[in-house]
């Protein structure tokens, strides 16, 4: 097995397997440890400048990447108009820089604020390092290998789809420049550490808050169940 296959076939599958198995195990056996581990109580002002750009920047960029993966044809059609391509590239670049600003603030906060430093674990440092690597390589690609949203659908999408369809074609990425490979690999590292770190809070996004009634009354016996007949749902939006 070549090094390329190791890195771009075995490693991603192993990483995703870890993500699924360990996340489920952690959820079922040690759910107490699943938390976003907010440190806002200890320091708030710098968190504002770090957390908001970091989270929103990365979320929007992730949405862009997913869109390219799911509807590559629409992407290509959009990018066929040069002005639209330019617009997309500028937006992506801006979001990337915004996220970079955020993570730099977050890292400096972790180092400089004593209270925050005292609750920082090794895994926190690893997480920040991996995400920083992803943001930096992403920005370097955007600068050095211009119009990524244009060629990306032709280069990366077939590779990722080949992984997802369990017929991996690592040769598609074998000849790519190092920065591009690093960008992909750092994502697989992200996936691998996901279940072992605070990153698990991503899958706990509480979307059901949008629909649940305000109040929650639970009866302990005979068995714990959420007890909410219609009248318990007072203060539902009118």
């Amino acid at each position: 097995m070549s090094g390329n296959e190791m890195l771009f076939v075995v490693f991603p599958y192993a990483a995703f397997a870890l993500l699924v198995v360990v996340s489920i195990a952690r959820w079922r056996l040690h759910q107490f440890t699943v938390s976003s581990m907010s440190s806002q109580l200890l320091e708030s002002r710098r968190l504002f400048w770090g957390s908001i750009p970091f989270h929103w920047g990365l979320t929007l960029i992730l949405v862009g990447h997913l869109a390219a993966l799911i509807v590559p044809r629409s992407f290509e059609l959009w990018n066929a108009v040069p002005l639209q391509l330019l617009l997309l590239e500028i937006t992506g670049m801006a979001l990337g820089l915004w996220a970079l600003f955020g993570i730099v603030v977050l890292i400096s906060r972790r180092i400089q604020v004593p209270r925050v430093r005292s609750v920082t674990t090794t895994m926190d440092a690893v997480v920040l390092g991996v995400i920083l690597a992803q943001i930096v390589t992403g920005l370097l690609i955007a600068i050095g290998y211009r119009w990524g949203s244009f060629w990306g659908t032709a280069v990366f999408v077939p590779y990722v789809r080949s992984l997802l369809s369990f017929s991996p074609r690592p040769e598609l990425v074998a000849a790519l420049p190092v920065v591009l490979k690093l960008h992909v690999l750092s994502f697989f590292v992200f996936v691998a550490i996901f279940p072992f770190s605070r990153l698990v809070h991503i899958i706990t996004l509480p979307l059901n808050y949008l629909t649940r009634p305000w109040q929650k009354v639970v009866r302990n016996a005979p068995e714990p169940y959420v007890y909410q007949p219609s009248a318990d749902e007072f203060l539902t939006r009118r």
Partner: protein
């Protein structure tokens, strides 16, 4: 009508001596852990004052509780649902650690390691979070007994609406006055912490009304901390989980009063069941400000009413609980005698812990609108009785704390309490009760039988009368969930996952 039971605590503020034994009992039992050092599920504040965390009543700042718009709709002050989700990454209304205080300890080893010198060695204070040396600049009761002073009292939001002249008088040294306010979680009927939790980790127990955080489901979105207007949900910075007063439910389930109440030196605390109508909560929450208090009082049901008893049984409340509700000191003080009020009902959470407002110090007399400090004779009781608006602790202030600004409610309570005092004083000191005192009793809307009952429950109650705890039958509930034979010889049921910090 849908009857539910609530374990309710009652605080007789006239008896509180501000000794903090309750706080220490609670601290030793529940929050003597890493990440929880700064939490005081039970704290005692000096009033007027800013309390703990500093200025917790300033809801323009912290956005706790609910608010009612012009159309009579009620909204959570901190957020609606989409805004709540959008603010997961940063909560602009979260109190900071310094709003509580930086928890500290002392490096006692310094006492042994210091080099020989002219002075006694001292132990250096250090932060319990960073371990760094620090200057202690605040604490959970930093303004203890300074509440009446201009420095702390001036910042008390409950003084808003008190007449400027009265405020000026309160700051005069002869009129400086304070009382104590012990606080725990109010285990509300319409808890805003529950409503604010994006994860749905907080819930109210149907059987006894205790509001709990499901620690496994908490994801540290920390909206509950801001949303609770009483600031009684705390964020554990070490485990990344929110925590709050659990009303010592493991103690109550085994027939013991909560630790704060049990340890109370002044015996100011009472514990008992209140039956309430869950269908009425909606109405309470939406009531306009001037009807809010009455609506909440009306939601509490009479445990002697046959209709209520039938409905309670239909709702699965056992005879023993109904029996407890009938003997409940909470029922007596809150509804039967009408002496107790919830704290800040205007937050619209329908708080279910109740307070008997303090009779301000009566060791003063009023002469030409001035307060004299010399002890008077019994006649001065009457003077205060008829001029309660001139009491040292202004009625407006108590009204802002307990009755949405309606000082008639406070006046009625204080008159009744004063009537009890006058009656018993005449009876025990002079051996007879004169006509003027009987007239005062009537004016206060009470009668000798009730006075004797209030007197007995206030001054001479036994432990069993103060804490009327219903049997929980947890053993039966557990049996329905787990087969006891399968766990024979084991220590408890279930598994233990140590509350360690996740990565």
């Amino acid at each position: 009508m849908r009857v539910r039971a609530q374990m309710s605590m009652l605080f007789h503020l006239d008896k509180c001596i501000g000794c903090h034994t309750c706080s220490v009992a609670c601290k030793n039992l529940w929050t003597d852990r890493k990440g929880a050092e700064y939490m005081w599920w039970n704290n005692v504040e000096t009033r007027p004052g800013t309390g703990y965390p500093t200025g917790w009543e300033d809801q323009e700042h912290y956005k706790g509780g609910w608010w009612r718009d012009d159309k009579g709709r009620v909204h959570l002050k901190i957020q609606n649902q989409p805004v709540g989700l959008a603010r997961l990454f940063f909560n602009p209304n979260l109190p900071q650690l310094d709003d509580y205080y930086d928890p500290f300890t002392f490096r006692y080893q310094d006492l042994f390691d210091s080099p020989q010198g002219d002075q006694q060695p001292t132990a250096q204070p250090i932060s319990m979070i960073t371990g760094d040396e620090m200057e202690i600049e605040s604490g959970p009761n930093w303004d203890d007994d300074l509440g009446g002073s201009g420095i702390y009292a001036r910042n008390d939001p409950s003084l808003d609406g008190v007449d400027p002249d009265v405020r000026a008088q309160m700051e005069e040294i002869e009129r400086v006055v304070f009382n104590y306010l012990p606080r725990i979680c109010n285990h509300c009927l319409n808890p805003s912490c529950v409503a604010a939790c994006p994860s749905g980790a907080i819930y109210k127990r149907a059987e006894d009304g205790v509001v709990l955080v499901h620690e496994d489901k908490c994801r540290a979105w920390r909206m509950c901390v801001s949303a609770c207007p009483y600031k009684k949900v705390y964020y554990n910075w070490s485990t990344g989980k929110s925590e709050k007063c659990i009303l010592c439910f493991p103690r109550m389930e085994t027939g013991q009063a909560p630790a704060c109440a049990h340890s109370c030196v002044g015996r100011i605390r009472y514990m008992g069941v209140l039956l309430y109508d869950a269908d009425a909560i909606e109405e309470v929450v939406h009531a306009p400000d001037d009807e809010l208090l009455q609506a909440q009082m009306d939601a509490i049901l009479d445990p002697f009413d046959p209709k209520v008893i039938a409905e309670a049984k239909a709702a699965g409340i056992g005879d023993d609980w109904i029996d407890s509700a009938q003997n409940s000191p909470a029922w007596k003080f809150v509804k039967e005698w009408g002496l107790a009020l919830p704290l800040h009902p205007e937050y619209r959470t329908a708080a279910m812990m109740f307070y008997i407002p303090p009779l301000s110090p009566v060791m003063s007399t009023i002469e030409r609108n001035l307060v004299k400090l010399d002890l008077g004779t019994e006649e001065h009781d009457f003077e205060l009785f008829h001029q309660l608006e001139k009491a040292r602790l202004p009625l407006e202030y108590l009204a802002n704390l307990f009755s949405v600004g309606d000082h008639e409610v406070i006046k009625k309570i204080l008159r009744k309490m004063l009537a009890v005092r006058m009656y018993k004083r005449r009876q025990s000191v002079e051996g007879f009760v004169d006509g003027a005192t009987m007239a005062a009793l009537e004016a206060a809307g009470t009668h000798p039988d009730e006075v004797e009952a209030i007197y007995k429950m206030t001054t001479l109650p036994t432990m069993e009368e103060r804490f009327v705890l219903p049997p929980y039958h947890r053993e039966m509930a557990i049996e329905e969930l787990n087969d006891p034979l399968a766990h024979k010889g084991a220590v408890g049921v279930g598994y233990i996952d140590p509350p360690r910090r996740g990565a």
